[in-house]
Symmetry: none
Subunit: 153 residues, 2 copies
């Protein structure tokens, strides 16, 4: 699925420097995603990446946010938020960690708060990471899969 691939690309770029599309292609292949350079070129364009001396870079945080927010007037739904900013979810005991595009953590946390799920005790957001504290491991698992579903969409 394309959306999933774009998310993985965002994540790879935030974690490791990528000098060329072919290098990115190889890194994606190791994660089980197999596409050609042509497809990546299109993805790069869609993500509005820029290529500088230190490799590819994601557009500035607020840019990403604006793209998602400019459409509607109502506050964006959590699903929309995750669709455009979410990268991956992991769970550890009673906590869920959501990685987002740079600058995406605050809005995602706000959207999660707005959701008001009973299992969530609270959220904390940095620049690109949201920490969700749940009542217990079971609740965390529930929250994790709910978020994962929205990402996978």
């Amino acid at each position: 699925m394309k959306t999933e691939r774009l998310n993985v690309i965002r994540e790879v770029l935030t974690r490791t420097p990528v000098a060329s599309q072919d290098e990115l292609r190889r890194k994606l292949r190791r994660r089980g995603i197999h596409v050609t350079q042509a497809t990546l070129s299109r993805d790069m364009h869609e993500l509005r990446l820029s290529k500088g001396p230190s490799g590819y870079a994601l557009p500035n945080g607020n840019g990403v946010v604006m793209v998602a927010a400019a459409e509607d007037d109502a506050p964006p739904s959590l699903a929309e938020m995750l669709e455009s900013l979410g990268l991956r979810v992991r769970r550890a005991m009673n906590q869920v960690v959501v990685r987002t595009a740079m600058g995406g953590a605050q809005p995602v946390a706000a959207a999660l708060d707005r959701e008001g799920w009973a299992e969530m005790v609270g959220t904390i957001a940095g620049d690109d990471t949201v920490l969700v504290i749940c009542a217990d491991p079971k609740s965390a698992g529930e929250v994790e899969s709910r978020i994962r579903a929205m990402l996978g969409a």
Copy 2:
């Protein structure tokens, strides 16, 4: 002369969008500067330009002045980071808390993220405290001692 040409390039870029080196070559020619694409490629590298969806862009906003300033571009290693900013580490269940000098939490967290250790689920940074979420208590112990080793150095 090369220096003069670099200045003109900076000026042209701030005034008009440039999509390719060949386009830039034509624009320079109209100003009496005649060089080949190969030379421009070298100039672009020297100016540390980046190419995005809207053409070439100067680094750091768009200053025509401070070009010699940016030298050390590579992000410092985690070890260097901890050496200068780290204070102490403590663990609690599956979490590791790293205290840093004031203002040091963000960069330390970023360096930890870059490290990409599998045991780490995510990090969140405040002003002087980094919270590292690990998969479980055992992983946290592993991460703790690794960080402690870098500190102790």
